[in-house]
């Protein structure tokens, strides 16, 4: 089935704006959201703005390094409405700079398509090339058309493919542990997938695996170490890891699913089976994307 594409009104695309603060930007976006088609009775830009504040209080924003996407549930809304702003200068947003801010208004009675759109925004903006394209554009109609091609409203349930984010670069079995841990720290990850030259998933390196390799086994038998006042052997313990590569630490036991896997399947792998991460792969076991616990949590709290 060909997914239904989202028609985006160019009047709701604000490019290269330079608001004095976050509040002013949100005012502009709410006005843009209320533009054109009529809204349900009692819903106007001011009402939407109040709802944005409530959504922010409930921490309902989805984030990437550059994007803030807010989901608004509006009683009686006929269909989805999206307003987007790209910023001429990054705007401080919860201690991280935002470059793209999106409001997605969705019917209160049927939020799933709207949440899928939020997830698609997240996936889209996690791709550096697409982010660059959006930030560099000066034509609202072009961007509206471009976004319309990348966002789709499907009536089916949320799927793994909607939720996943791209992996942060390729890590191979010969990648030094030091490089892997640096990448994990940079992106706040506790687990990273290892692939071969054809991007086929081979296994994963977890923070716990790295700790296990360095920390002697006897610590696992102790009930606590709080009684040790002065003993810091970590440098000695972890010294041996310097020469190691991913294959020395990698665990082949990974959770994978197809892009068509349901949210329930992903939740089952993360929560019931206890995997730190689910890798989304194609039929040939090639890595397509990743779903972290936090990413899923961020999405399910919005359901």
């Amino acid at each position: 089935m060909i997914p239904e594409r989202i028609p985006l009104d160019p009047r709701r695309v604000l490019l290269q704006v330079d608001p004095p603060d976050r509040s002013a930007l949100l005012d502009d976006l709410c006005i843009a959201l209320a533009t054109a088609e009529s809204l349900p009775a009692g819903v106007d830009a001011a009402a939407l703005r109040a709802q944005v504040d409530r959504a922010l209080d409930e921490r309902a924003a989805a984030r990437t390094d550059a994007l803030v996407a807010l989901a608004l549930r509006v009683q009686g809304l006929a269909g989805l409405r999206i307003a987007v702003a790209t910023l001429a200068r990054p705007l401080a947003w919860d201690s991280r700079p935002a470059q793209v801010v999106v409001l997605v208004a969705m019917p209160q009675e049927n939020p799933a398509p709207g949440l899928r759109i939020v997830n698609q925004w997240v996936s889209l903006m996690a791709d550096p090339e697409r982010l660059h394209h959006l930030l560099g554009s000066r034509s609202a109609p072009d961007i509206a058309a471009w976004l319309g091609r990348h966002l789709s409203e499907d009536e089916g349930p949320l799927l793994a493919g909607d939720l996943m984010r791209p992996s942060y670069g390729r890590l191979g079995p010969e990648t030094p542990i030091a490089d892997i841990t640096r990448l994990m720290v940079a992106h706040n990850l506790d687990c990273a997938g290892i692939t071969d030259d054809n991007r086929r998933l081979l296994g994963q390196v977890t923070a716990d695996g790295v700790f296990t390799l360095g920390l002697p086994d006897f610590f696992r038998q102790l009930k606590s170490v709080a009684f040790i006042a002065e003993f810091d052997p970590l440098e000695r313990y972890f010294r041996q890891e310097r020469g190691l590569t991913a294959k020395d630490v990698m665990s082949p036991d990974v959770a994978t699913c197809a892009p068509t896997a349901t949210l329930l399947e992903v939740l089952f792998l993360l929560s019931v089976k206890g995997y730190p991460k689910v890798f989304v792969v194609d039929d040939d076991n090639r890595l397509l994307g990743v779903i972290d616990r936090i990413r899923l949590l961020d999405r399910v709290v919005n359901l």
Partner: protein
Amino acid sequence: MMLASIALFAVTYVLLATEKLDKTAAALLGGCVAVMTGLVPHHEALAAIDLNVVFLLMGMMIVVNILAGTGLFEWLAVTVARKAKADGLRILLLFVGATALLSAFLDNVTTVILVAPITILVCEILELKAAPFLVLEAIASNIGGTATLIGDPPNVLIASATGLTFNQFIVNLTPVVLVMLALLLPAVALALPHLAVVKPENKARLLRARPERTILQPVALKRGLIVFAFIMVGFFASHALHIEPGLIALVGALVMAVATGTNLHHALEKVEWTAIFFFVGLFMLIGAMEHNGVFEALGHFILDLTKGNFTATVLVILWFAAIASSIVDNIPLVIAMIPLIRIIAPEFGEQMGLTDAAAIRAQVEEPLYWSLALGACLGGNGTIIGASANVVVSQIAKRNRHPFTFMEWARYGLPIMLGTVAISTVYLYLRYLR
């Protein structure tokens, strides 16, 4: 049928000794095959499973795990290390002594699992080699475990099969164990004087440890220790109360779980079920041999071999059990030897002119059982594979980058095994055979 029973036992024993099959699977398979091939009736095989042993092992495993969860053993180790003023040799001697003491009341393997990690930590803080500490602790656990009914599985098996009480074990085995330890500790001090040399900054680090921080659940610890004291009183009084030690241990464990607020589900998860089913399988297998008269025939063979000389028989059992235990698992050996002793004892009683059953038990049966207990418990020290505690300690040492070889073990273990069995020989002779 007798030959078939012996063959089945031999095959199982080979599987156990060579570790071709998981030892629990081998023992259970052996027991089940005995029943399925008609070597022993089903009801007899089930009756041969000694629930007193099973309950005692289960109960003590639960008790130890509850107490360990409170941080008690870390507290003990840190306190001992500080009392020793962070002197490496003093710490070694105190740890070895403490391990022997703990092992008298806890299973040997459990003892070393509790003691080894904190020992390695102390050694790493002091920058000392942990291997001599670990080897000597395993040896001490085997010696200390010999002292009481609950200290080592051979004693549990002997007590359960014979009705020998907790107090009888203390009266008959503890004195000789104390003599062994009294000789072992100075010998260790003489052999390893270099351990006393520790860098002052490392000493200072250990002395600044905070033992009070080791206790994670103070209320549970207090309650657990009170229940533990009651369990010990129960063991001492078990004969007078006509309650088997197994039941005391199991009830004590359940009371401790309730008193300390331990989730029973978690407490039962900590039971080493593979060990329990290992015993179950062996009991069934030995039941088949007993049913087919194997031990009766073997008893007559031993009587012929020793020409009815009681002293020789006691000492042969001691040394045979010791040497065999240093090579193979002592548990099946002891399970097999118990019915053998039961069969040969009346023959010796008759030879010695004893007609009273109580006299035969006191003068013939008991010395034979003490020799079996001493041989089986102490023999394991001879080699790195001689006792479960040795194997467990060597695995812990290897995993933690403090490995020791077969020969390094033998350097300490073999002379200590020969020395302690020699002391046992003198003890048995002076106390029971003169």
